[in-house]
Amino acid sequence: MDEHRIDPDEERRTIVERYTKGREKIRDQIGDWEDPQNLVLFTDRYGFIHDQQLPPRLSKHEAKVRQKEISRTSKWLKMLEQWDKYFPNSEKLRKRVYKGIPNSLRGEVWTRLMEVPQVKKEQEGRYQELLDYGLYNSKDIRQIDLDINRTFRNNDMFRDRFNAKQQELFRILVAYSVYNKEIGYTQGMSQIAALLLMYTSNEEDAFWSLDRLMSGEKYAMHGFFIDGFPKLQRFADHHDKILKKFLPRVYKHFKKFDINATLYTLKWFFQCFLDRVPFSLTLRIWDCFMLDGEMILTCFSYTLLKLHKRSILDKSMEDLISFLQIDLEKDFGYLDDQAIRELQIAINELRKQKMESPAKTNTDAEKPTRPFGMLLQADNVSIMTGTDDRSIAGSINLKNSDSVSLAQTSRTSSEVDQNELENTELDDVEVNDFCKIQRSCSIYDNVDINESIEAAKRLSELTTNSDQRGFFKLQITLS
């Protein structure tokens, strides 16, 4: 069967090429079946395609909501002008977020709530580096491609295969997969990244937004998406605790059917209710999530079951699962404003019992343990293996800009000796056994040096410019 084996490198190249060229240039290579066949007749305000005509006029309620949104927009614009006065702790900001961020300003506000502008400034130029590296080295390209093919294809933005938004989505996920190697790419992330792309003003903002959601302390989604999903269990256990205390009959009802909380909360937690409640309500929950972080996952899960307690208790297992999985997305049964008001009530209720969030973990199992995005484009690189095989010293000749990220990175990695980073000369290095790689190297992964060397070899074929400004030495001890 060997002739049928797909060479992963070849496959990666082919996929990357299609996304790089984009829809217009490869038009003739895109099969009919790769695009949705239905005509785009009706799209809603979020770009979702409907096969039935939407009502010609807005419902009374909807018209009122839009009117309010317009009047709120000017208030928000003023608030954005004096953002530091309101963020992070002003009551006014909180109140307004819970009333709903105007859709036209949502992207701007979300990125500010996630403090993306700062991160982006600190990391200037990094996104492009990560992307350049990722396109040649990411191991997740195949899975990313498979999932982009089925991410929000019912939305105008992502509908056409290899269109501009699909290209952006591809680049974000590829760059992220080499930036946070503990995650790489996990299914579920493509929809999150796509949602961010719908709202942020550009691809780089969406990338750093994704980074904030994963590694920012407030959201810490890293623990959901890494191997073993440690955060899922912790949140599901806490969810059960809340049910036992506040909704004991619902708890027993789930128990009766042997429905484990992780079964139905997984998508709530991993994607903050995307596809599980109507899109307009999802956005409202995300508004709150952006401001208040992970506790929203816990509190809205409780809110949802509380609001629907009666119908839940009446349902058989299959009806119950389909209710949570499908029906609520079509019709939540409550207006968005009502649902968010109930969320606020639930937050207060849970706060009184100190249950709005699960207890913090006392292990680091959910946190990033490896440095992020170590793609050090160096000019002269030596990697030395110590005699005892437990230590590897590498000396890297870096561009100055990299020194910042290298030092930052060491925060997350106890194995990297900060002092060593700051005061180094190539001459300092005592060499027992080393391999020297010319021109470029990636010391990304401090536990797999061979992988770094392989990557460096590949990169060195591509990188030709040299820029010698500073010397740094990395002392890495393998645990």
Binding site: M1, P36, N149, D258, E318
Partner: protein, 216 residues
């Protein structure tokens, strides 16, 4: 899943009995697990079926002579990382469909890994079917049918090549599984979500007559 209160006989009825089974779909990402289920349950096919995060649950009944078989189907996420959750879905399952894509050899290898895991970890009497999906793409075939056939025979698996797109063999594979599943009253009495629980015999109550398909 859970006990349904053991066996209830249909009281002097003309209707057939309903047996209920838990079935899980496993296999590499994008081989068509969700599409097979969607075809079987709703008769539909979506070219760009969303990727399954965690798992999805659906049910479907089918008719077998004078009995009705109801499948509770757990459709799982294919990415390897999600494999750690799989035991939660195949625990207590009486049947499994392990799916691969006939145009991709790697997915066949992955299917074998799933079969091994099920043989080791799942209920000892689990009925396993191997589905070589996307048979409509035979011109891009990478896994020969004989190869899969031999493997299936060696491992005592049901085997069919299927196409969720054209519907070829989709109902058939579920039907074959239904035929192979045990349907004895005494064994149903055990109940519980533990290992090897045979189908639970349910009374066809008035409120869900629509789900039964066997009329006598």
């Amino acid at each position: 899943m859970a006990t349904r209160g053991g066996v209830q006989r249909v009281n002097g009825s003309t209707q057939g009995k309903i047996f209920q089974y838990k079935l899980v779909l496993l296999g590499e990402s994008a081989v068509g697990k969700s599409s097979l289920v969607l075809r079987f349950v709703k008769g539909q096919f979506h070219e760009y079926q969303e990727s399954t995060i965690g798992a999805a649950f659906l049910t479907q009944t089918l008719c077998l002579d004078d009995t009705t078989v109801k499948f509770e189907i757990w459709d799982t996420a294919g990415q390897e990382r999600y494999q750690s959750l799989a035991p939660m879905y195949y625990r207590g399952a009486q049947a499994a469909i392990v799916v691969y894509d006939i145009t991709n050899q790697d997915t066949f290898n992955r299917a074998k890994t799933w079969v091994k895991e099920l043989q080791r970890q799942a209920s000892p009497n689990i009925v396993i079917a191997l589905a070589g999906n996307k048979s409509d793409l035979a011109r891009k075939r990478a896994v020969e049918m004989e190869q899969a056939q031999v493997y299936a025979e060696e491992n005592n698996l049901l085997f069919m090549e299927t196409s969720a797109k054209t519907a070829m063999n989709v109902n058939e594979i579920f039907l074959e599984i239904a035929k192979k599943l045990p349907k004895s009253d005494q064994s149903s009495a055990g109940g519980g979500s533990g290992s090897g629980r045979p189908g639970v015999d349910l009374t066809q109550s008035s409120q869900n007559t629509s789900s039964g398909c066997c009329k006598s």
